[in-house]
């Protein structure tokens, strides 16, 4: 209020406040000095400084959104949520980036849902958890490219298809848990899931499936996404379940209709 009153009176009179030149001088000095400081330190310490800022931003986000279950310092709460020390930025990027975390309700497994954080916030959370202890890093965009589709298909059949279905359509596990369908999952999240083993999925580290082979699996899944079933309607690729249901409803339905027509009296 104190500043707005003189502003309006200044406009009327058309004269500058006597303090205006002082303020302008101050702003100019601060801007030059600040810029100078920023430029001179950038060569040696600007990256750690911004990383440090990201980590502390992540820490704040973590304490506000995750610490209720995972505990302050991400040490976990027995019987509620695991410790996140050492899970690495990849695990955070996967769990939060696919909306599985924060969990909406406890259940057999965390469901995928719309993401609750922006990309910057997810990066900050990942940086914070990554700063606690070394763990799998978020894969670079280059490491996800150039995989061989047929190698990927073979590796997928050996390592993934028993749970996720050979066409990546997903499948049931025990006691309400399930392996989710892999259609439309981004390459980064597929890669991160293999490295970190979210929830009941086993870990496939880089010595088991090399980064090149992981890129091949990603390439196979992308091939499945971009090449729809050559056999036409795939009925969810669930095999005998959906195909059997289709036959029961439509084939038996047709037989019933024909039977009624055969025995109906002509008019």
């Amino acid at each position: 209020m104190a500043t707005s009153v003189p502003t309006s009176s200044r406009r009327k009179t058309g004269r500058r406040s006597p303090l205006a030149s002082v303020a302008l001088l101050l702003i100019g000095l601060l801007a030059t000095g600040g810029a100078y400081a920023a430029f001179t330190t950038s060569a040696s310490a600007s990256t750690p400084a911004s990383e440090q800022a990201q980590v502390s931003e992540g820490k704040k986000l973590f304490e506000a959104n995750c610490a209720t279950c995972h505990g302050l310092g991400a040490v976990g709460t027995a019987g509620v949520a695991p410790s996140l020390v050492g899970v690495g930025p990849a695990a955070v990027d996967f769990q939060v980036g696919t909306g599985r975390m924060p969990m909406a309700a406890s259940g057999p497994q965390a469901e995928q849902k719309p993401t609750q954080f922006t990309n910057t916030q997810i990066a900050a959370l990942a940086a914070y958890v990554g700063s606690l202890a070394p763990g799998p890093a978020i894969p670079s965009a280059d490491s996800l490219k150039g995989g061989n589709v047929s190698t990927g298909a073979e590796l997928f059949r050996v390592n993934c298809a028993m749970c996720h279905n050979v066409a990546g359509a997903g499948g049931a596990l025990t006691e309400g848990k399930y392996a989710p369908p892999l259609t439309g999952v981004t390459a980064k999240h597929v890669y991160e899931a293999m490295v970190t083993g979210p929830q009941n999925m086993p870990v496939f580290n880089n010595l088991n499936i090399t980064p090149k082979d992981k890129a091949a699996i990603v390439a196979y899944l992308q091939y499945l996404d971009s090449h729809p079933s050559p056999g036409g309607l795939d009925l969810g690729n669930l095999g005998p379940v959906s195909e059997g249901l289709f036959v029961w409803i439509f084939a038996l339905g047709a037989i019933v209709v024909v039977t009624i027509w055969l025995t109906a009296k002509p008019n």
Binding site: T174, N200, M201, P202, V203, F204, N208, G231, L262
Partner: protein, 337 residues
Amino acid sequence: MPVGTAVVLPDSEQIQNPGFPPYRPRVSDLDPKKARSNERRIALLFAASMVGSVFAIVAYIVFPINANDPGSIRLNNLFLGLGIALSLLGIGIAAVHWSKALMEGHDLSEERHMTRGSEATRASAAEVFHLGNKESGFTRRKLVRNTLIASLALWPLPGIIIFRDLGPADQDANDVLRHTMWKAGTRLTKDPNGVPIKASDVTLGSVFHVIPEGLDDREDALEQKAKAAVLLMRLKPEDLHVSKGRENWNYHGIVAYSKICTHVGCPVALYEQQTHHLLCPCHQSQFDITHEAEVIFGPAKRPLPQLPITVDSEGYLVARSDFHEPVGPSFWERDHT
């Protein structure tokens, strides 16, 4: 007095067969115009069938199956199928429509034939047998009859013996089922590329799909893989409940179990790394890896056999020996060594 609880009505009260309902004339009986239009309709359906047959031939030629183009199979099958369906459905629907709309429409009933033949037929059949017996001497010449019966009983035996030896040549089938490729010192390698696995590669929560070293060099690689496939998992050592005599079968929490279900031999590989349960996708048998793969649900009867493992001087995981029991489903001689 009749025995039982059935209610038997006297003849006077029994429900009489009401017979057929009175014949209701159809529109085509009353109106010759309608009959003609039905006739045309039936002819049109037969014509549609002709079109379908020709279309199927044309489609088969126009949409050939090209190698390396799965989409061509779909077009070929789709149009060929549509043509054949039209061709057969046209005939079928036309025939039914013909019989319903134009053919003689009065209800009629046909009596079912008696199952029992007439006395004369039965007597003559018996006579044929008596005559056959008399002429052949079947009951009189007991030696001939008995040798005939014995020879008939024996002739299938060669077939059964041959079936018994359908297994691999110059090997005892029982022995084949009882042993796998694993022996002391065989390295555990990754499926499918055969790269040996170091104990340090197997981090906590990992699962490796394992084949024995040298599998791909075998001529019978698939037969061997069907018995020797193994799932390798690492748990916290304190989570394992190791029974007496198996103390050195795991290596710092790394355990190897046969991947072949003991129920009917599906590959059991749906491992949940938090519950440590292994699920068989075929019939939902569940095995608890923390309790030496004991069955906790489903139709499997026995736990999955454990492969005893250790490391060699270079740090690679190797088998201590073959499995100590036959892998996979039961077989006749399984429990008799």
